[in-house]
């Protein structure tokens, strides 16, 4: 029971890390290596507002989400759109976006270090909460709930609304989407911006229970990429399920076998899934 609940909560954290990247990579086709830095930026905002103005990270989260959306929309339009236009093949775009977003991640680290070079550490809702006899941290529970709301919201939006359907169409086949009259650049920009906003929101929440610093983003980028690939590129449900699976397995390994092996276990699962379902849990088999 302990394992189930703690694992679910950790899975929620991982979902927060990965959902945004899934939108960015699955729809806008940008393998965003600055994803982790974007997350840390959210954490920095929450920390900063908390230490300067004692503002609750939850308030920061609500305030920062639209800002992050606008910021990421601009990044896409100004920095990434030219690469998309220029790329003749998807391979070319992949290479270009790796290079460009890697550059961006450096630039973001540089900016964040200038703002606050120390650890972002503060205490928010760090109190025990009892679920069915298992003690969990309230801040993790809150993060899990927000992750659930975002996750369910995204799935519903993607599947039951017109704009959501357009986003899915672009994710499945860019060319065909164009043919049926979808404004692909606009949809891509929205998906990228939305992904960025989700990631930043994730960052504000994660900062309440994990101590971050300006340079730690790459760790989150790696986790996010792995989850997205595990779940299947372009399918938000896949990412959520992969995140929860990862959370459960890591917690189970840490509790039952040895906490030293969590990282290894995560990669073994990842490898296993790749070998038996190379397209990811929910991915469509590539033609």
């Amino acid at each position: 029971m302990d394992i189930l609940i703690s694992g679910l909560l950790l899975g929620g954290t991982y979902a927060l890390i990965a959902m945004g990247l899934n939108l960015q990579y699955g729809v806008a086709r940008i393998m965003n290596l600055a994803n982790g830095e974007m997350l840390v930026l959210g954490a920095l905002a929450a920390f900063w507002m908390y230490s300067v103005a004692e503002l609750s990270p939850l308030v920061t989260m609500i305030v920062i989400a639209p800002v992050a959306f606008a910021g990421n929309w601009l990044i896409y339009q100004l920095l990434l759109r030219p690469l998309v236009k220029r790329a003749k093949t998807s391979g070319q775009l992949e290479v270009d976006s790796i290079l460009a977003t890697f550059g961006m991640s450096f630039a973001l680290v540089g900016i964040m270090v200038a703002i606050h070079g120390e650890y972002f550490t503060y205490s928010f809702l760090a109190s025990p909460f009892d679920i069915l006899g298992t003690t969990v941290a309230l801040n993790r529970l809150v993060a899990f709930l927000v992750a659930a709301v975002i996750g369910v919201g995204l799935v519903l939006w993607l599947n039951y609304t017109r704009p959501g359907t357009a986003v899915r169409a672009v994710s499945v086949n860019t060319e065909a989407a164009k043919l049926v009259g979808i404004n692909v650049p606009r949809v891509s920009a929205i998906a990228f911006a939305l992904g960025g906003a989700v990631t930043v929101v994730g960052g504000t929440l994660i900062s309440t229970f994990i101590t971050l610093d300006a340079s730690i983003g790459v760790i989150f980028t790696m986790k996010a990429l792995i989850i997205v690939i595990m779940g299947g590129v372009g399918d938000i449900r896949g990412s959520i399920i992969a995140a929860i699976l990862l959370g459960l397995v890591e917690t189970a390994v840490a509790t039952l076998i040895d906490p030293g092996l969590t990282l290894v276990a995560a990669y073994v699962i990842f490898l296993g899934i790749l070998l038996f379902r190379p397209q990811g849990l929910f991915g469509k088999r590539a033609s």
């Binding site: 950790l10 270090v113 650890y119 550490t121 205490s123 994990i210 971050l212 030293g260 990282l263």
Partner: protein, 403 residues
């Protein structure tokens, strides 16, 4: 940085890259003493260096310059600080130290931050004869390293001494009948964490303790609750975590949530950071951690006040002070020699006793055997409770829940 200096840097750079020749470029006349410093501003160690290393270096430079500069035989000279970011990358670090030595031609260099970086840079310091008064370097190879590098000095102690400090604190409590002999030990599975755990196992056993829980966790583990739960389930008398900064925070927070509070609760690196108390407030009262200071001596008080005033931040309760001590030693040695001759300054450091904020410091075989090993948060201040040759340790208190 003013504009003129910026321009001169830029032109230096352009000239260096453009001509690719070995022009020695002295952009400024030698009316200053040039001091170099390389430490991380980004990368995994940056979070620690920006607390412990950089502010103290800035403070020292500001203080020396405010009093008119270093007193040399040919008059007082102000310090010009040239600082580089090594990005927590040994290759970058080596390059930056070389650059300081041969391009910027600095007179002295502040020792690096981190054990690995001190050792990686030691050959260059040795080659150009820079005295290297290492602070943030804890190793059991002090003897071998100082023999190899004649201008390398150690000031923060050895791995074994650190573990022995913890052992002494715990045996003290046990002998008084306040705790039993069951220890739950965890460590971060990275260089220093593995080393400490390895050293600790036989030392704890020899002292008659029983390790009822002994696990490691990977660097950057996002959820430490299984570890804390495991440790709690083993029902220990003492909890010892050989941890790095992010997990020191994480383990403590998780222990509060699980209400795991053995009578002795020790976490290693960063327990001494003001941010630790900032985060947890009074809850961490009586927590044990690596390091410590005696904050009550007038000199230490003056240093801490000045640190706050000049840099706007609090000094940590451990290596910040040691870093300042190393700079005081450098300062007094330069002034004692009266010139910028590095060989003479190194010899001076070896031969003399220095009056510092941690009392008198002198080196025996390039090692100052005077440092704090264990500290404890007592009513908002992290005080040293165990040391090697430092006075002013206060009695250890028992932890009594998270309040």
């Amino acid at each position: 940085m003013n504009r003129r200096k910026m321009l001169s840097r830029l032109s230096t750079a352009l000239a260096t890259v453009g001509t690719a020749s070995l022009l020695t470029f002295s952009a400024l006349a030698s009316d200053t003493v040039k001091i170099g410093a390389v430490a991380p501003k980004t990368g995994p160690l940056a979070g620690g260096a920006t607390v412990t290393q950089w502010p103290t270096v800035d403070l020292w430079v500001a203080q020396v310059n405010e009093r008119g500069g270093l007193k040399l035989k040919d008059g007082q000279k102000k310090i010009e600080l040239i600082a580089y970011d090594d990005k927590t990358n040994p290759g970058e670090h080596i390059k930056a130290v070389q650059r300081l030595a041969t391009q910027d031609e600095v007179d002295f260099i502040v020792a690096p931050y981190g054990t690995g970086f001190n050792i990686a840079a030691a050959p260059i310091y040795a080659k150009y004869g820079y005295p290297q008064i290492a602070v943030s370097a804890i190793t059991d190879k002090i003897g071998e390293l100082t023999e190899r590098y004649p201008s390398l000095f150690f000031t923060l102690g050895s791995t074994t001494a650190f573990v022995e400090g913890v052992r002494d604190v715990l045996t003290g409590l046990r002998d008084k009948g306040e705790i039993g002999n069951k220890i739950a030990m965890v460590n971060v599975a990275d260089a220093f964490g593995i080393e400490l755990a390895e050293v600790a196992r036989p030392i704890f056993k020899e002292a008659g303790f029983e390790l009822v829980y002994d696990k490691s966790y990977p660097l950057g583990t996002p959820d430490l609750s299984p570890i804390v739960k495991g440790a709690k389930a083993s029902n220990p008398d003492a909890f010892v975590a050989w941890s790095y900064p992010p997990d020191t925070f994480g383990l403590t927070e998780q222990s509060i949530i699980e209400d795991f509070s053995p009578k002795a609760f020790y976490t290693a690196v960063a327990t001494c950071f003001p941010a630790y108390a900032g985060k947890f407030g009074s809850k961490i009262n009586n927590n044990l951690g690596a390091g410590g200071v005696n904050p009550d001596t007038p000199k230490m008080k003056a240093y801490r006040d000045a640190h706050k005033e000049v840099t706007g931040k609090d000094a940590d309760y451990w290596a910040s002070a040691n870093t300042y001590v190393s700079l005081q030693i450098l300062e007094q040695a330069i002034e004692g020699v009266g010139e910028l001759d590095r060989e003479k300054v190194t010899a001076y450091i070896k031969a003399n006793t220095f009056d510092t904020i941690m009392g008198d410091i002198s080196f025996d075989n390039q090692n100052s055997n005077k440092f704090w090993t264990v500290g404890q948060w007592q009513d908002g201040v992290f005080r040293g409770v165990a040391s090697v040759n430092v006075e002013g340790a206060v009695p250890v208190r028992l932890k009594d829940g998270w309040k």
